[in-house]
């Protein structure tokens, strides 16, 4: 079982993630594709932890879950490593330590992100204002173009006067709808674990791909939200209008490998969304979860 679980973990985090990152069908069902990325991440983690545990618990001749239960019972009885042998006990200790370090690392990046968001929110409260042209949004007085959604308990949409000056009112409505899509879908919260994982374990192919891809897929999901409410044309021309100027070398931060040209050509395809593809992606998400879960339950 340890071999199978290891194969699943490595397979999902390396070739699996690379394949999924290359897939173009995901653009036709971005939200389902994000779910598949999430399922892949959880399934891989379960498989990896399960593989370690199943090696450590092998002397007990039980499934991982039952083995853990036995160890727990033994711990309560005061002899946690009974029947395990030295190497298994060390392995168990190592698996526990790695899990703790991972959880701590992720919590740390969560806290850092929260702090920098709080600072950003505080500064906005002091320097931004409101205007009738952009209802529901805070306006920053700056000639450069920026439109974004500051995630949080109450997500805040922000635009700069540079945007207000350059876009028609239809285009502006489309941009605001796109940002409301981010706020409505809680994309900041969806993104957080992926960003943390990449910061923590950037050398794992899954971590790198997932962050880039999910960032781009969430943009597409927000595009779809804006198209449903405002329409396709204003959004496309707003994207062109905002991306065409201030063209500096692209920065890597939070940026997605799915660029604006990809988003625009996607929106121009009349069949840019597909329920079929979404259904298959959801099916794949469930399927990906089954193997590691079974692996933990069966001996």
């Amino acid at each position: 079982m340890a071999g199978l679980l290891t194969a699943v973990a490595v397979g999902l985090y390396w070739p699996g993630a690379t394949l999924l990152a290359r897939a173009r069908w995901s653009h036709r069902a971005p939200r389902a594709a994000v779910l598949l990325w999430q399922a892949t991440g959880i399934a891989g983690a379960l498989a990896a932890v399960g593989a370690g545990l199943s090696v450590a618990l092998a002397p007990l001749h039980q499934s991982v879950i039952d083995g853990l239960r036995s160890v727990m019972a033994q711990t309560r009885a005061g002899r946690p490593f009974q029947g395990l042998g030295l190497y298994a006990a060390l392995g168990l200790q190592l698996a526990t330590d790695v899990t703790i370090v991972l959880v701590l690392g992720l919590s740390l990046t969560f806290v850092r992100t929260r702090r920098s968001r709080a600072r950003h929110r505080q500064l906005l409260r002091l320097v931004a204002c409101r205007t009738e042209r952009a209802p529901g949004a805070l306006v920053l007085d700056d000639h450069r173009a920026a439109a974004y959604c500051l995630p949080g308990l109450r997500p805040q949409i922000v635009v700069s006067t540079g945007v207000l000056g350059r876009l028609t009112s239809d285009e502006l409505s489309a941009v605001l709808a796109h940002e409301r899509g981010h706020a409505h879908g809680r994309h900041g919260i969806v993104m957080l674990p992926f960003a943390s994982l990449d910061t923590l374990l950037g050398w794992v192919p899954y971590a790198r791909h997932a962050r880039e891809q999910v960032a781009g897929l969430l943009e597409m999901a927000a595009d779809d939200y804006a198209v449903r409410r405002i329409g396709r044309e204003p959004l496309v021309s707003a994207l062109l209008g905002m991306a065409g100027f201030g063209a500096t070398p692209s920065c890597a931060l939070g940026a997605s490998s799915i660029g604006i040209p990809v988003r625009i050509s996607r929106l121009r395809d009349p069949e840019h969304r597909s329920k079929h593809v979404a259904a298959w992606a959801l099916f794949a998400a469930v399927a990906v979860m089954i193997v590691p879960v079974v692996g933990l339950l069966v001996r």
Partner: protein, 121 residues
């Protein structure tokens, strides 16, 4: 809370208006009619705690000043919006990233030549 937030903003405006000089709590309170001196001191204390205001003691009085200009804070916010924050977190979700030179070329061509399959307006 919301009222305190508004007051923070007003106090900062006063400190920014006199940027370069330091004001006493009394100076600030005098420019905020309708607010008690103690309230103003509380707000100044909060702003100091948040790292937006510095306080200096001269003789018996405390003098307050904004640490950065208003423009510097706008620039900080814009920098995070355009470049992301330094510690590579997902603080913001942006509408459009900055575009590389190659991408800008693609976009310009797209602007000049509308693609087929574009639905009629």
């Amino acid at each position: 809370m919301a009222r305190l937030g508004d007051l923070e903003r007003q106090v900062m405006e006063i400190l920014w208006a006199g940027f370069g000089s330091e004001l006493t709590g009394r100076d600030v309170a005098a420019r905020l009619p309708g607010h008690a001196y103690t309230t103003v001191l509380t707000v100044l204390g909060r702003l100091e705690h948040k790292g937006l205001v510095r306080r200096e003691r001269s003789h018996t009085t405390h003098r307050y000043a904004a640490i950065e200009t208003r423009e510097a804070y706008v620039a900080e916010v814009m920098h995070e919006a355009l470049e992301g924050t330094s510690d590579r977190d997902a603080a913001l979700v942006r509408f459009a990233q900055t575009v590389s030179g190659r991408e800008a070329g693609v976009l310009r061509r797209a602007l000049e030549r509308p693609e087929k399959g574009r639905p009629p307006r």
